[in-house]
Symmetry: D3
Subunit: 255 residues, 6 copies
């Protein structure tokens, strides 16, 4: 068996050893199964949070848990909408319980430091709830849980460089330049730039309407055009995220 930061590819005997040796620290990648346009696979959020988690784990010497895959409902203004075929969501309550259960298990295993690295915007509040419920049930243990979205660690200067024509905000980045570039760099087999639909950014109102009005989502399912994505941009993004998050976590956890 190859040496690995991935918890689920370890045998349980090695895992027990790793917990002790590796700072009692584990990262849980959090993604979603969600359409990402005609040019990318539907596991983008799982794969990116997992890859970034692995990059960080190798830097800060910790373990990576099996990712959370099926997750919160994609919203029209941040992911095109949960009505789209391919997007496969679970209820908010289910996600809260799922996160709570998993965190409690890793605390039981002996971890003190648990880091959730989120790759799907809509998960955020449900992750917070799940974490809080897990805290309530584990009051006697020391545990310090971090929650972050990897794109928050892309610094302004990188944004300016990658979006020379101006940046319209992370919300419209769904299946746009950032995610596509990262996929091109990390999972080129799962991207096909020839299938890109180069449409103008989504023009959505300042509010949400339910039931979602499907015509308001761009035909591509992408909220902005991925046309300008590239491997090079993906590499830059990957590195600033991995570096930035690793640095922040090292400081926060004194590891």
């Amino acid at each position: 068996m190859k040496k690995n930061v991935l918890m689920y590819e370890m045998d349980s005997f090695s895992y027990v050893d790793s917990i002790k040796r590796w700072n009692k620290t584990i990262i849980i990648p959090v993604g979603a199964i969600e359409q990402h346009g005609p040019h990318m696979s539907m596991n983008v959020d799982v794969n990116l949070s997992l890859s970034i988690s692995k990059g960080i784990a190798e830097k800060i010497n910790c373990i990576v848990a099996y990712p959370i895959t099926y997750a919160a409902k994609s919203q029209q203004r941040s992911g095109g909408g949960y009505h789209l075929i391919g997007t496969t969501s679970i209820e908010g309550n289910t996600l809260i319980s799922y996160v709570k259960d998993i965190i409690k298990e890793y605390i039981r295993h002996g971890f003190k430091n648990i880091i959730l690295i989120n790759g799907h915007f809509e998960n955020n509040s449900f992750l917070m709830e799940g974490i809080d419920l897990a805290l309530n049930d584990t009051k006697d243990s020391f545990r310090k849980i971090a929650l972050l979205s990897y794109w928050d660690f892309v610094p302004e200067e990188t944004i300016n460089k990658l979006y020379p024509d101006g940046f319209t905000g992370w919300a419209l980045e769904h299946a746009g330049v950032m995610e596509t570039s990262l996929m091109l760099y990390l999972y080129p087999d799962l991207v096909n730039m020839k299938k890109v639909l180069d449409l103008p950014p989504a023009d959505l109102p300042l509010y949400d309407i339910y039931p979602i009005i499907p015509e308001r989502t761009p035909k591509s399912g992408c909220l902005s055009s991925p046309k300008n994505a590239s491997v090079e941009k993906g590499e830059i993004l990957y590195k600033v995220c991995v570096d930035g998050i690793s640095k922040a976590l090292k400081k926060e956890y004194s590891i």
Copy 2:
């Protein structure tokens, strides 16, 4: 009994009449019970969403429901944190069910257009879930539900005018200039500018830590200083929100 847009101050016979006459449209204000620094009462989010809802209802001719009051956990990076004394939160699951139940009731009453006007950032995802569950349970009815946060309707030019030294984003506005100005204009009795603690904006990391580390929240509980708040700014903010939202809703609902 005075004429009123407030559902709960009507008698039920007048209410039945109003539903039919008033566009089958109801606004549900959504707030929170949350500390807002030493200079403001803890019902800021309830009161502001209620006042703005009333302003809109008078313009677009609809009814205002009893507000949702106790609500989602205040988070450290957007409200100081749910650990603070005074902040009184309910579980995410409870809020989801509560919203679902209430929306189902207003649909049963005969409303076609239901608008949630949110005044507490952390509620957003739970409101979305509650709305979706209510949709599932009322599949045979026509209903069109809108969800919005009033501050999203403050246009950039207003922001530039109100924050001449630069705007640090809505997240840090908790109990800052915007909310304090609105309270000064709408509920002057519930603000005491002499008690303002004029501290620098909160300096929080790019992630959340649980359990919350209390020292990271500014001593005031405000994420930015409300010192520059004024009645005049409150009036401007109130008017751009009421006008902007009314205009958007009129168009969206063709009323």
Copy 3:
């Protein structure tokens, strides 16, 4: 900001002080949003429990929490039925969780004595459940929780005086003489005696039928006629309730 027993109109800094100074005691008023005939607003149960709570709080020196507003399903034999338009109920499970969450928060704030003053009969069992679940989750804290319905403190002699033609029991008092008199005394703007429908008391069987048979509820929605209500009766009722409950609580809690 004016001096106030109302928690939600305090700033959080004053609130922290009040908890310590004011017997670590808080009252949570519990109401409902429910039709109360053609002559009264739908917030009767919220307003009456709140006013009575304030009266008591001023006497026994304690704080009043934001009321619980949306609440248990009105039943045909005690409130006309939850099928009526205007009556806006939440599920029993939702109410249980809501009550549990709120009580836990006030315990976290430092209260030892928590008093629920109920103004809506159908809430009772769900409040009991919510209290019990909150107790389970706060085993390490001292807390003594009281639950009461204000009308239980109207003494027999008062009943005899106010109902010279005989009293038919609290169940039929929904929107009848008691509630209407209290509203006339406390919220005259929300009552219109000219709209009273003077019908004979509801003639309901000794059992409940589901789905509710709407014709069995009197057309007025009132289970007995409010015709004999008066400001004077309202004042008497308010005073015996506030005095009686205050006395009982002072003794029970030794405050």
Copy 4:
């Protein structure tokens, strides 16, 4: 196999026949497992609701379902309290789901008329909730559900006869004259009058306190003395209940 109104003692083939032949009507007895003093077994509420249900079923020609046994928390002012050893309660939420599930099953079996006969006061609101949830889930079926407590059918004249020294209300009847007399008549083997503790009625305040203060419940666990119970009174009570309920149901359901 003997002829029987008891659903659970039928084979399923006979049961299918019975549903059709017997008015598509079923009674679900609802009890509790609860202490009933030193002189009676703990299944009083189950046994009495079951016996009365059987009596009615024989009169109105319908089926009796397996009773609901473990049930709502006994409250101090109506059953001595859920803290007592022997009293075995389930959570309110569990009871609601349990009732909902069972009612849905009997509707699936083909019943149109479902009657819950309750023998444990504290169950009432949870039964109402369970019924309502079952209605929601079976909207396409005709079903008419009745809920009653058997003691509500004891007429005033019977009360006057059985309680010559005055009647203190059903609440204090827990394990008192009514229940003990019925048990003496119906289940003499499960009563031992020699073990009766003849104490004055419980002297409880007009409110509930949580956690329950155990000393406030009479040592016997009975809220009033069963000393004056007798087989004769039991027979009278049984007959007025069975007759009264049968008559009411025949009329209500036109059977």
Copy 5:
């Protein structure tokens, strides 16, 4: 009142004594309300687990709780299916909560040893969950909970004797020789061998299909023919189960 191992036929004062004197041990029988062919009543699983529990309790000197009656959905390959009329199931979640609540109550009463004797195959996983949740909520108490299915204690030699033509496995035994024999021995009034439908064993695929395809269940509702059932076989089965389980429990619990 006759001497009894049945908790629910004791008065609470005797029960308190019994807990202490009788090894702090209680058995909870677990059954189901489920069709068992045209020749047996629908309470087979309740009655058999109860009778066997009583037999064991007399041998090992402990108490028997009120059985769990309504239970998990009968599956086509082990009980004919939950679509059959007569079979009356509750949701898995409801059963989990129900079991959890009841176990917590018996722990509160003072029991250290709690034994669930299951007579309905499909309950198993839900009982495990309920037990685990009860453990979580009672972490400070010593409690040792056993879960078993009585048929697992029928030794191979008995099987060979009772099924001279070969044994097809417990799954197909639903309403077959084992259960029918036990009923003939223990509850002859609830069996009618003349109504036996002597059909070949069910021929079901190696998987489950949902919604259940009703034609795949044998017309009798029995998965194998009960024709060869007899009182004698019932006596043998009863004795090997009671003896085997008693012996195992005595050893396990050192009682």
Copy 6:
């Protein structure tokens, strides 16, 4: 992007096409994160159900969904126990909701035939519940759901060949010859036969005890020795499972 049966590696546009072209059939692999001894990784149940699902999908021309990964509590008698470090379980209720949500989503996407291929014994009842709840919520759609465990398709003759010294039943196969052989054939990198602990089969009682007594699980975490596992056996097992299940499904679904 390479041609793929894996739903999550498709883009959503190709996915929509595939649903229509590929028999409206999807397989959901179901696994667990569970210790599998010192010689195998902890994702055995996920990987094996996924590989077998892919094999079948290629044969019957259908899609494979993202697997269910975190799953039901490992039990001592079938998986060593959920107390072991490495085994990472979720609550039964969480799993039920998770399965329900996911199935509802695939039905919404347009699938008529949904097949759950289970690789973790303890999941079974929770999968059944989740399926049933999904059926309740999708009553208007045609959908035919199959649930199977792959090992049920290993024919007796194969068992005899692979276990020449006798087969002790699937329960004891946890991390034994079957799973290890399959992993050797399908994921050799995740097995290390040098780390095998060759211990006698687990000697567990005929019942479960909670809390689990850790000493009763073999030190290896394997319920029987994997020593005799081999690539060849893995290939045989894989083929009989894929062939047998494919054949059965083709017939069942007429595809």
